[in-house]
Amino acid sequence: MITKDNYWDPQMNAELVQHILLFELFNNMIKDELPDYSSSADMFKINSDDIESVLAFDLSDKLEEPRLPDNNPLIDIIYKHTRLVKYKKGDIIIRDGDYGNSAFFIASGKVGVIFPPGLQEKQLGHVSDQKMSLLKTLKKLWCNPFYPEQRSQTGNNQTLNSTVSIKEGRLHLNNVKDILDKNEYTELGSGDIFGEIGALGRTPRTSTVVANIYCELLEIRWQGLRDLRQLSQEFRKSIDSLYRENSLIAHLYSLPLLSSLSKSAIQLIAQDTLFKTYGSFEWQTDYKTNLENDSLSLLKSETLIVAEGDCSDSVYLVRSGFTRVSYKYNNGFQVVQYLGQGDVFGLETIVYNWKNKANLPMQTSLHALGYADVLQVPKYIFERMVLPNMKVDEINEYLASDVLQQFSKHADDSPVKGLNLNDAVLDFMSDYRFINGSSTMLIDTDRCTRCDDCVTACAVGHNNNPRFNRHGYRYDHFMVANACMHCNDPVCMIGCPTGAIQRKPYEGQIVINDDICIGCSTCANACPYENIRMVDARDSDGLIIRDKETQKPVLKATKCNLCIDQLGGPACERACPHDALKRVDIQDFPEMINWMNR
């Protein structure tokens, strides 16, 4: 039953539902008569005949809360997972490279989809890649502001440069027509949908979309898309075919395992590949609660993808998100490894079965850590196309893998291997979801003299404001400090209204453009690790700056930017005199373990 509390947007009301019901797809779904749409664009075209009939309904009466139908999932989806958003001409709706968990359905108006290379960095409000000069670096050592968090330009309405400004908390192109004319773009209009692949696959947006004229867009968040996909076969087919055409083939190509295959072979694989999302995209909301649980219940709460002992009939390719590989160990589970984007699960057993004509089941379980987008490729494809072309060395490597060694030990009834540092660190990193970090700050507290040189260096690099806390969860004598980990799954980037928080395309740092941050706190609330801090902006006299209209203090989101603008890289790491601090990519587990075992 829908209650006011579980509405996504309190503004959601019968008026909005009425608005949505104008569209043929939704109407037909309510009637349980799905039309035969040939493309996703056709699906959402307004049927003018239906408009009058829908408008004739007394919707407000039909959709009163107590009478909201439990058995009508569409209205449930609309109520819970959509909202109507209005954009003015020139407003940027989504930016190339942004992460988002919503798709947009155009209710009215037109938008321009700008193809790559697209807009310039400054037009998108991106942080420049330029490093600070030596002279400026030297100057910074002595000329940092006296007061903390000093700013010169702030506010929700401001002009950033001749082409971009912030209007009502949104990034706005001042002369959209000229900009569109200078770029290659296509126009989408009423009834079209965009952003669904990025939202469902948790992948970065591939184009920038700008409102061409005044637009009303129905924003559908990923839960709504997921439910719509389950509700409507046509919708699912359309999304799936779009995904296969646009993303899957390119993704399969990028996998080293399949790189030697021909284009036609890849297309064949793409046809038979199943894809599914496990777990929840919004795993961060339960992060704190889950930490209170013990490891066993934590593992049990994770969505199972494949169980130990299941028939080995597919290879699983992790497309995005994280998974935990584990096996039963006494009365608990021992984590063997975690897999992230581009990793493969289950191939060892298939290679073993293929080579020995055996029928070995899965030796380990695979669980989604938070969420995981997984491609399931049937084993016969591998047996026909991949394994015969594999080099002997590679095959032997798979046969010698830990997973199969573990099996042989079990089979011989020999003692199971004991726990070592690697295993325990794996458990720690998985339980606390630190595996997400690509530049996690690890501190060896056995070497750290608590001199805070790292904090001082960080402060000097950021106008006398340190951007991390030398504090955090600890495993043995290793502490994961409260510093931005520059996550592989950057949940903080979802929902930023101006795109102020962004990921650099080449090195992957997540940075905040202070100029266009409007202090809405979306990123800080989303970060499960509490590594983004909201601060009060101050003027040159140290006084808190207040918004001219609301008189509320102007807030800014702050976090570690990995010293992106400085010549030598992260100042914290360079400043540590005792080699106690390192920024580590947790995906590069061997390097991290080597550092820990120095």
Binding site: R450, D453, H477, P577
Partner: protein
């Protein structure tokens, strides 16, 4: 590279350099006539290089190598400077007033450096293994919070049990303990003796409490233990910070005295010759 292999490599380099310097001194000692001039200059250059480490620590943003690499150089060059220093003195004790002061400055600086290095390696391990990780500057705040918790507990106990036994005990024996960090020297030696004394006294006192009061007394002892760990951190982190207050100012004093020494040497060099 593991720490052990790095230590081995750097020690070998230091050993070779020491041998080389010693051989050079022996070989050129007689022809140069005044070997102290050469060893003096070598020592001064070494001291200046050692001093540059503190400058590097201030120039945090410049891409001039990691501070840890500089510290490695600083440590081994420090050991080398001690050898050169003794060579410069021709392995005798200084006898002039200024000479004694200068040599004392050098020796105390070098010794404080060595002691600091030992502290830096030993103390962090102890800190990791005791209590929670706390930031030094926030310890007074945590002390206050523990004191507040203890006082609230006492008030609650008094109100609920209608007895002032625990309150009296707190006032007589614990109020001062909870007030500020205590017994830094005990903690420096890692002694648990003071806690043991408090525990014995606490156990003796608990014999005369009823069941309800005992529960409060138990909670109070948990706070005593927590405070003890906090004092431990305060004492040891304090040591890690304060040894630098000897090492760094003395370095400046040494450089100043060394400059005066250099001027005096060259002022009177002609006369000596």
């Amino acid at each position: 590279m593991t720490f052990n292999s790095r230590r081995l490599k750097n020690s070998l380099v230091l050993f070779v350099v020491c041998l080389l310097l010693n051989s050079l001194a022996n070989y050129y000692g007689t022809p140069l006539y005044q070997i102290q001039i050469v060893s003096g200059w070598v020592l001064m250059i070494l001291i200046l290089l050692l001093f540059f480490y503190s400058l590097r620590k201030k120039l945090t943003l410049l891409p001039i190598g990691k501070t840890s690499s500089w510290l490695q150089f600083h440590s081994y060059a420090g050991f080398l400077s001690v050898l050169v220093f003794f060579q410069h003195l021709t392995y005798r004790l200084p006898n002039g007033f200024f000479e004694i002061i200068l040599a004392s400055f050098f020796m105390v600086t070098a010794l404080s450096g060595i002691v600091g290095m030992i502290f830096s390696r030993v103390i962090p391990r102890h800190l990791t293994r005791r209590g929670e990780e706390v930031i030094y500057e926030r310890i007074p705040l945590f002390t206050y919070e523990i004191r507040k918790q203890a006082q609230d507990l006492i008030i609650e106990c008094t109100l609920k049990t209608n007895s002032t036994a625990l309150a009296d005990y707190y006032q007589n024996y614990l109020a001062d303990y909870f007030y500020k960090p205590k017994r830094p020297l005990f903690h420096f030696y890692g002694s648990m003796g003071a806690l043991y004394v408090m525990q014995t006294r606490h156990n003796n006192f608990c014999r005369y409490l009823n069941e309800q009061e005992s529960v409060y007394a138990q909670q109070l002892f948990e706070l005593i233990r927590k405070k003890y760990d906090l004092d431990f951190h305060y004492a040891l982190q304090g040591v890690l910070k304060t040894w630098l207050f000897i090492h760094v100012p003395l370095t400046y004093a040494l450089i100043l005295a060394m400059t005066v020494h250099l001027m005096l040497v060259y002022a009177f060099l002609g006369g000596l010759q």
